[in-house]
């Protein structure tokens, strides 16, 4: 028998955005958090380098500079009113986290310590500015732990290891979700006035990715299947410094502390491309420069990787060359970057203090996602119509504060600022709204049917083979460099895989902890998202931020200064909406 629950406000996903929303919603109304993981397993915990806010603790800074950097970093596709909100409220959000107990590193006078990060500048001198507030290189871990601790303190209700497989939408309003309890396989219907989706990214459609196995886009796919659009899906960030072959992230904080990229000739090649910011240019640019080096034969040993060099004597050499009086030693790096130094030692057998580290770009972050307004309310179409009762925040959402390319540290800023705004907005909404009736049995039946179809399917295709082929084609054709012909091939391949997906067979026919079943269900979600990603990428015949078309290498503001909205109702429909430009007119992006 399906089980039934009723809460004013539901939060799906227990990373930074979800927990922040839950903390604030639960101050006002009856709130529950549903997550397919234990909350502390969420991917926010892997964020390393820092969370930016113009605190000005170590040198002059202004939130307006942070906003300008964000907009320029986003290649002018950001909605500027939303960016202003984020960068202004980032200051209080970081202070709020400190008050909750977050153990930030400290300056000698006891304030929150800050460091440099890619694309964050003093707008007057154009030089890097110390804006990223950090707790060693486990800032995300400390944010996640601190928010979870505060949820425990405030008795927030959790449904851990419940996986949401459907969103209840009727007459353009959201009434809750359907989930499966992983331990039992039972279907649970959660009835709510307001539901906030905060399930993070969906990078598992690529092979080389920094994303966790769990980042499979379950909720964006569910929303898409319920006839709602996704925004800017063609914009996905490839982070320049993934561990070669594995994709594990080595934080930009390494370059913030002075590390540089080196090619096969031993050359610090970023100087050639971006003479002012050099190795601290934004991520999309660094990733393209790395691939250009590789294509022109200057990858290490002619192969498809370059080095990230953070040997102390090298860092000091480049500090000196740049006229920076700072000098560091091995102990400093071990304190500032302990985790990523350990990643290199464990996974590559390389000691970064003594040897340069092989790296390659890795699929990292979705700039696109579920469209929302500035209060995390989900949008139904390109005109800005609201889906009553439905909210989204964090990586899964597209506000859009990141535009075509996210700046480092801004994912954490986004999730605390808009998680909080979403939580407050939900609580206010719930106080004046009443529960709309739902067909709970029909909802449960439809959820169970989704799973039974997979459980009982007697085909001849292995889900893993399909997943591997999807990831291969996404790496090859929908990666850092794209072409029209390549994207068409990718779409054909995804359609072939979707057809084969209908003929899958799984081994586990049971109910309790059937991870075989849930992985197969997740593959269906990833295939749908891969399809709309490739479609949106094919239609955007320009290059902007993380979306680079070799056949259209220039930005085209006349035709493409606009957000895409994609629907999948049988066939795929694309529409566009204008970018909200308030203060900063688009300009050429030089660093």
């Amino acid at each position: 028998m399906p089980q039934y629950h009723q809460f004013d406000a539901l939060v799906v996903g227990a990373g930074g955005a979800g927990l922040m929303a839950a903390l604030y919603a639960s101050k006002g109304v009856n709130t529950a958090v549903i997550s397919k993981l234990y909350p502390t397993r969420s991917h926010t915990g892997t964020a390393q380098g820092g969370i930016s806010a113009a605190l000005g603790n170590l040198e002059e800074d202004k939130w307006e500079w942070h906003a300008y950097d964000t907009i320029k970093g986003g290649d002018f596709l950001c909605d500027q009113d939303a960016v202003d909100i984020m960068c202004r409220e980032a200051i209080d959000a970081v202070i709020d986290l400190e008050h909750m107990g977050l153990p930030f590193d400290r300056t000698p006078d006891g304030k929150i310590s800050q460091r440099r990060f890619g694309g964050h500048t003093n707008n007057e001198t154009k030089k890097p500015v110390m804006r990223a507030c950090h707790a060693a290189d486990r800032t995300g871990h400390m944010i996640l732990q601190t928010l979870y601790q505060n949820c425990i303190k405030n008795n927030v209700k959790f449904f851990d290891e419940f996986q949401v497989i459907d969103v209840l939408i009727e007459d353009g309003k959201c009434n809750g979700v359907v989930a499966v309890q992983l331990a039992t396989g039972e279907i649970h219907v959660f009835h709510s006035k307001a539901t906030l989706i905060a399930t993070g990214g969906f990078g598992k459609m690529w092979k080389v990715t920094s994303n966790a196995h769990s980042l499979t886009g379950d909720l964006p796919a569910a929303v898409l299947r319920r006839g709602l659009p996704l925004e800017d899906m063609e914009f996905f960030q490839f982070h320049p410094t993934g561990v070669y072959k594995l994709g594990i992230l080595l934080s930009e904080a390494a370059r913030g502390e002075g590390a540089v990229f080196i090619n096969d000739k031993g050359e610090r090649f970023m100087e050639r491309y971006m003479p002012t910011l050099k190795d601290l240019a934004p991520r999309d640019i660094c990733s393209r420069c790395i691939y250009t080096e590789i294509r022109e034969g200057r990858g290490i040993g002619g192969k498809d990787y370059v080095y990230l060099d953070f040997r102390p004597e090298q860092i000091n050499k480049y500090f000196e060359a740049d006229g920076n009086p700072k000098r560091i030693d091995a102990h400093y790096l071990e304190t500032r970057l302990p985790d990523i130094i350990e990643f290199a030692r464990v996974y590559q057998g390389i000691d970064p203090i003594k040897e340069p580290v092989p790296i390659q770009p890795t699929a990292h972050y979705a700039m696109g996602g579920i469209p929302t307004d500035n209060d995390a309310r989900v949008l139904a179409d390109e005109t800005g119509r609201i889906v009553e009762g439905l909210y989204a925040a964090g990586e899964v959402a597209c506000v859009s504060v990141h535009g075509a390319n996210r700046l480092g540290t801004n994912s954490l800023v986004d999730l605390v600022v808009f998680g909080k705004r979403g939580g407050i907005a939900m609580a206010e909404y719930c106080k004046q709204a009443s529960f709309r009736p739902i067909h709970r049995d029909a909802a449960a039946k439809a959820g169970a049917a989704q799973l039974d179809r997979i459980r009982n399917n007697n085909g001849n295709e292995r889900p893993h083979a399909i997943r591997k082929e999807m990831q291969a084609v996404m790496d090859e054709k929908v990666g850092v460099y794209r072409t029209g012909a390549g994207l068409e091939e990718a779409i054909d391949k995804i359609h072939e895989l979707q057809a084969r997906y209908k003929r899958i067979r799984i081994d586990d026919k049971g109910f309790k902890w059937n991870t075989d079943l849930m992985e197969a269900w997740e593959l269906g979600a990833l295939l749908d998202l891969a399809e709309v990603t490739a479609f949106a990428a094919l239609a955007r015949t320009e290059s902007r931020g993380g979306h680079y078309r070799e056949d259209y290498p220039n930005r085209d503001d006349v035709n493409f200064l606009k957000h895409s909205m994609v629907w999948k109702n049988g066939t795929i429909t694309l529409k566009y909406k204008p970018v909200r430009i308030t203060r900063i007119p688009p300009q050429e992006r030089k660093y």
């Binding site: 209080d92 909750m100 006891g110 304030k111 601790q149 425990i152 990643f343 893993h464 991870t515």
Partner: protein, 238 residues
């Protein structure tokens, strides 16, 4: 290289008790044990159940008993524990009820975590200037080690005292308490020490050091427990 994975299996829907199954797997020496488990799951037997997420030692999902020692499956490379042709044994962590294959019921573990007030308590008014509370780098450094904990349970489920008595709060909960007891901003140290001085608190620790050895984050767990004991003994937190 070729290895055998000998995995302790239990399906609650069909089995009365656990049994061992052995799978031959072709791996790269630099593969993680998690990669080998995925190879089994994805290419040989999809019914194998395990938890995993980040796959690089940060989320804490995949603590398991590998060759008799607690490790994260994603943080140990095959080449570090096996040679060509060797057998690697994998079983669930001990001391928590097995739910299916390598998955245990984590609820008793998290109940202990919640019991030690794992959150900052400070009832003073916030700074009037609207800014952060100040903390010196030395005060921040004091509890740095225990902020690394990812709640994977590798320490608690390697502890003989916990195996003997599941009511013992266990090393992970003490690590969490330590993180706040020694935070200069916190005001609830005495309450936490009171909780930890109870029958199933810190005195159940027999200094076996298994926890320190098991911690995938390199936390000096036994040392942290010792500092809590010292604070209880002397009434001084330093």
């Amino acid at each position: 290289m070729k290895i055998n994975l000998k995995i302790k299996r239990f399906n609650p829907e069909t089995d009365k008790k656990p049994h061992w199954e052995t799978y031959a797997v072709e791996v790269e020496p630099t593969d993680r044990v998690l990669d080998a488990l995925h190879d089994v799951k994805w290419n040989q037997d999809g019914t194998l159940a395990l938890r995993r997420s980040c796959a690089h030692g940060v989320c804490g999902s995949d603590a398991m008993r590998i060759n008799g020692r607690n490790m994260l499956a994603c943080k140990v490379l095959i080449q570090n524990i096996a040679k060509d042709g060797d057998t690697i044994t994998v079983e669930p962590i001990l001391g928590l009820p097995v739910v299916k294959d390598l998955i245990v019921d984590m609820e008793p573990f998290f109940a202990h975590y919640r019991a030690v007030m794992p959150y900052l308590v400070n009832n003073d008014p916030l700074p009037a200037n609207g800014r952060e509370r100040l903390q010196s780098p030395a005060d921040r450094e004091r509890y740095d080690d225990t902020t690394k904990c990812i709640l994977c349970a590798a320490c608690t489920t390697s502890c003989p005292s916990f195996w003997a008595r599941g009511e013992y709060v266990g090393p992970a909960a003490i690590v969490q308490a330590h993180r706040f007891i020694f935070d200069s901003r916190d005001q609830a140290a005495q309450q936490r020490l009171e909780i930890l001085s109870a029958q199933d608190g810190v005195w159940r620790c027999r200094t076996a050091f298994n926890c320190t050895e098991a911690c995938p984050r390199g936390i000096q767990v036994t040392k942290a427990i010792g500092e809590v004991k010292e604070a209880l003994r002397t009434g001084v937190i330093r």
